[in-house]
Symmetry: C2
Subunit: 205 residues, 2 copies
């Protein structure tokens, strides 16, 4: 088996965390050494950037600043973790990656997609996931689920319309890149979602 | 008098702090309301980014991450402070601005200038200083002076060759933009430097 780069995407309450473990286990079961990471964050510098981004007291962060901070965290993660891991023959699973910028900063914050594409070219270039699983869930259901996991951070505190735009932008990305992004109906029960994800892994990897 | 945007540039030990006050006073004496700021930093979010950038324990920050963090801080400063101040008829003096990215990240860290230009276009666009005063001082003298002001931060801890490249890149910028950037010999005594700066302000503004 050759090392693969898989990203898992989805908005609040989509159930990413438990599926990260499912994907990890599937890859390990086939013999891969797996490096898991998350965005924003995943490196000491990235986690310090994450703290700025999610701090509820920072209501003044402007959309372009947010976008640049996320790509700063991504640059660090790519060079320090993702690229070395792949080069060393390991598989990588990332909890959110560049599609999240198109969804949250592009859709949610309505930053021009052209800006995001430029930064993607500058920072990510060719190091794209081979497979991206998008957990799609209606906004109301996602927010309800997310409420149960604790106090919301700065981004989770956004209004419902924000998350509707995020969801729409995610689904648009999936239509644009069907060879890479697979949408999973995450409103189903956990066991059914898990089954869907496993079947995607079997088919695609 | 119309509001102006002035930036002050120079590497370690060039004497920027005291000249910020000289420029401020000159502008106030002619009747301007003056907003001073610094980079990286100058806003609550920018200062949090500055803390990451200057933290000596963060030896792992990669050049591209550093560049993106500086432009994130700059985006915030431009939208929250510089643009509103200028729009309100105030003059702005900034302790370092975009030329510093070409000097430190371009010269010092040897990041491709094309990347810096792209980010400049994305973040700064037309909001460039009318006048930039570059305090030039031989590296050995600058470092000696800077040592007296306390423990060095992450960037001040760089090797001498780094600062030689920074100085060269600053001087290259000055040759490229002679209509905007004026070089001041900051190795002279303080009173002579001050006089040079005042005479530049008289001639250029």
């Amino acid at each position: 088996m050759s090392a693969v780069f898989v990203s898992l995407e989805g908005s609040e309450g989509a159930g990413k965390s438990s599926l990260m473990r499912v994907i990890r286990k599937w890859l390990e079961d086939r013999g891969d050494t797996v490096v898991s990471c998350r965005e924003p964050g995943g490196t000491p510098t990235g986690e310090a950037i994450r703290d700025i981004l999610l701090d509820c007291n920072r209501s003044g962060i402007l959309p372009l600043t947010e976008l640049l901070l996320i790509f700063a965290s991504r640059a660090q993660l790519l060079e320090q973790i993702i690229k070395p891991a792949l080069a060393g023959g390991n598989s990588v699973i990332c909890d959110r990656f560049v599609d999240a910028s198109f969804a949250y900063q592009g859709g949610g914050r309505q930053q021009p997609l052209e800006q995001i594409k430029q930064l993607q070219q500058l920072v990510v270039a060719e190091t794209m996931p081979k497979l991206t699983i998008l957990l799609d869930v209606p906004v109301a259901m996602g927010l309800l689920r997310a409420q149960k996991t604790g106090a919301p951070d700065r981004i989770e505190s956004e209004q419902r319309e924000f998350f509707e735009r995020v969801r729409k932008a995610y689904l648009r990305r999936a239509r644009q890149y069907p060879e890479r992004i697979v949408v999973v109906d995450a409103s189903a029960r956990q066991s059914a979602v898990r089954k869907q994800v496993l079947s995607i892994l079997e088919q695609r990897l």
